[in-house]
Structure formats: C-alpha cells, structure tokens
C-alpha cells in the first residue's frame, strides 16, 4: 500500500538533502537556517502532534516545546542522517510525555476541528476523515502510531521504525493490522446502522 503523500523519489531526496543542509547550518549557529527548518517542518509536525492531542492550541504549544527540545538536543543529530526521523522521534516523545501528564491529572481535552491531513486512497475507500479520526482513537496503542506515520504522514516503514523505535518489518505488520482493524470497525458500524 502506498503512503498518502508519497512524492517522487527525486523530490523526496532533494527535500531530505535540503533539510540536512539546514540542520547542519543550524548546528553551526545560523538562526536563518533554524528559521527555514521551522518553516519546512512546522506544519506537518503540528498535524502529527494534533493526531495525539486533538486540540489545535495544545498542538501549537507542543510544537513550540518540540522545537525547544530540538534546540537543546541539536548536537545529537549526526549529518548526513535523515533529519525527519530524528525530529519526529523527539516530537512523538513530547506528545507522549504530555499525554502522560494529562492522564496523571485525569484531564481530557475537547475535540477540535479536523486538520487538513489528506485521507489516503486505501482508507478513503471505506472511511471519511471524521470517521477515520474517531476510529483511530478507538484503536488505542495498537498500531495507531505506525498507521498514522505511514498512511497519513507518508513516511516509509524504515523511517517509521526509526521514529517509533521498532524494526521496519514490525512497523509494517502493526500498520497493516491497524488498517485491518480500522476496516473491521467501519464495517461493524455500517452493519449496526443497517435496518
């Protein structure tokens, strides 16, 4: 199954190369490169953070926190490794730490408007965007992250493995199982609606 936002390989490679250059410049102390890095990554990162918290203003706060953590940890990035798995791994951890603190406080957030994340064709065939996000919650931790990163954010399974901390094969299996579970949930809902 192809990722939703899959780009031609050359375009993806040149984007990755540009991010590596920006990150290297940022490590050398150039604020302009940090600014460009922010512009390139802020929007997809905020969408990704939204999938955890379902609240735009919290996702914005977490985005700022992610970039502060990136700043504190900027020396741990080793060129010419891809920048995105490094950034998304930090971002995911920021979101998980936030959710953990919310669980401790037993607070829940109101749902927010849906972000403009395109629904990939393999999912659009059986669920619209609202259903997709509602059922992603019901999936819980069982492959939701892998499904989101691959099918919604367009990462390869190798990149998903680096972000989540598992082998690429494991990421593929989890995403596949999550997609299957999602399809079954949609079918069950439809059967429930039928007279």
């Amino acid at each position: 199954m192809a990722p939703a936002q899959q780009q031609p390989p050359t375009s993806k490679a040149s984007d990755d190369h540009r991010l590596v250059e920006l990150m290297t410049g940022y490590q050398q102390g150039r604020v302009e490169d940090f600014s460009l890095l922010y512009e390139a990554l802020a929007q997809p990162l905020q969408r990704y953070l939204w999938t955890f918290v379902r609240n735009t203003s919290v996702a914005e706060d977490l985005l700022q926190e992610t970039f502060l953590q990136i700043h504190r940890a900027r020396r741990t990035y080793t060129p010419p490794r891809p920048v995105k798995p490094w950034v998304y791994a930090i971002s995911r951890h920021v979101a998980l730490m936030y959710l953990r603190s919310q669980r401790r406080r037993k607070e829940s957030l109101p749902d927010d408007e849906l972000p403009e994340v395109p629904v990939p064709p393999e999912i659009a065939s059986f669920a619209d965007r609202a259903t997709l996000y509602r059922l992603l919650d019901a999936l819980g931790g069982h492959g939701r992250d892998e499904l989101t990163l691959h099918h919604l954010m367009g990462f390869s399974f190798e990149e998903v493995g680096h972000i989540v901390g598992c082998a690429p094969g494991t990421a593929k299996v989890r995403a596949h199982r999550a997609l299957k579970a999602l399809r079954e949930m949609v079918n069950r809902e439809r059967q429930g609606e039928d007279p």
């Binding site: 706060d61 791994a89 901390g165």
Partner: protein, 222 residues
C-alpha cells in the same frame, strides 16, 4: 493550523543560546571511551590484585578467554545504550531484549563452565558472596558512570532502556575481572552473587533512566 512563520518568542529563545555545536560522534566511537575505562579497570584488577589460585589449572579459554568475552559483551551492551540515546536511531525492542538476554546468557554460561571444569562442590558462604558482589558493584561503578554520562549527554527517549543496557554492560565488564580473581566456582555462589550483581546494576540503570526521564521532561506544557 497556524502559519509556518517562526514565532518571535521562539526566535528570541533560540537566538539567546545559539552557540555552534559539534555533532555527537557515532555510538561506536563513544563506546570506545567506555571500552577504555573497562579495559583499564580490568588491567588494574588483574595486575595489582591476587588472581584465583586455580588459574593455571584451568584452560586459557576458560580464564582469559571468558573474561575477554565478558568484557566484549559488556562494551557491546554499553554501545547499544549509546545508540539508544540518539533520537530516531534507537534499537528495536527485540534487539534490546536479545542483547540483555545475551549478556545474561554469557554471564550464566561462563559461571557454569567454570564450575563444571573446576568441579568445586557447592559452598554458599554468605560472607564471601557479599564480598564478591560488593567488589563487582564497586568496579562496575566507574564504567557505569562513564557510560551513563555519555548516554545522558545525548537525548535518550527510552532512558530506562538505555540505563538498563548501560548498567548490564558495566556489570558484565566488571565481572570479567572477578572471573579472574574469585576463587569460588560453585554454581550457587556464581549464580546468586555474581549474576545478582549484573541484575542489580541493570535495575539501578533502569531506575536512574526512569528518574532522568521524569526530570528531563517535567517542563512539557500541560
């Protein structure tokens, strides 16, 4: 969704601390530092302290060979801890479990092989056991401190895992010296006190990682 422009407040905070930084060396190069400390500790122990009385009756592979194997696996585990400390470059849970299992298996097999070869009956002296464990832990501390210092200079996202790997590695490398010095080969002594030291260090590493994680991420907005 908000605009993609860098917010002024974030720009100010970044600019106030934007010294150039040198990227961390790869994990294998940082692991060489741990290896140097582990080898130095081993060399000091076998050079300046009394070795086991049956050293010359045991085959070379069982004495020096097994000690070097323990050292190598200990450094390997520390290297994995260092790799785990870089975001997006961590090792999978399967590899972590396999590595911890390998460390424990090496520790157990070295102990059992030594007992089978030397044929020493079970003794189980409490005082000697406590002394051995204390010695193992004391020697593991410098290796552990260096490994954790290198781990926490980076950004381990699964800090307890990195801590447990570092602790197990340090204890295993430390036990290499004990293997050359401890005169007791009965399985009870080896399994309880020497393997116990490895488990204690793994648990301590896990706890330190857990505490570090709580402190490092306490300022996430909530």
């Amino acid at each position: 969704m908000s605009s993609q422009r860098l917010p002024d407040e974030l720009r100010r905070r970044i600019e106030s601390d934007l010294d150039p930084v040198r990227p961390l060396p790869p994990a294998w190069r940082r692991a060489l530092v741990v290896a140097a400390v582990a080898v130095a500790a081993f060399a000091v122990m076998v050079t300046f302290f009394r070795l086991r009385p049956d050293l010359h009756q045991l085959p070379m592979w069982l004495t020096w060979g097994c000690a070097l194997l323990q050292l190598a696996v200990g450094v390997l585990l520390a290297g994995l801890a260092l790799r785990e400390s870089v975001p997006g470059a961590g090792v999978s849970t399967g590899v972590v479990l396999a590595a911890l299992g390998l460390g424990l298996a090496v520790q157990l097999l070295v102990g059992l092989a030594t007992w089978m070869w030397s044929g020493q009956p079970a003794a189980g002296e409490l005082g000697a056991g406590v002394k051995c464990m204390r010695s193992d832990l004391a020697l593991a501390v410098p290796i552990f401190v260096v490994a954790l210092w290198l781990v926490f200079r980076a950004l381990p996202l699964r800090a307890p895992v990195a801590g447990a790997l570092g602790g197990t590695g340090a204890a295993l490398a430390s036990d290499a010296a004990s293997h050359m010095r401890c005169p007791m080969s009965d399985p009870q002594h080896l399994l309880v006190w020497h393997t116990g030291a490895v488990l204690v260090m793994a648990a301590v590493g896990w706890l330190i990682g857990w505490a570090w994680n709580r402190l490092r991420w306490r300022r996430v907005p909530s």
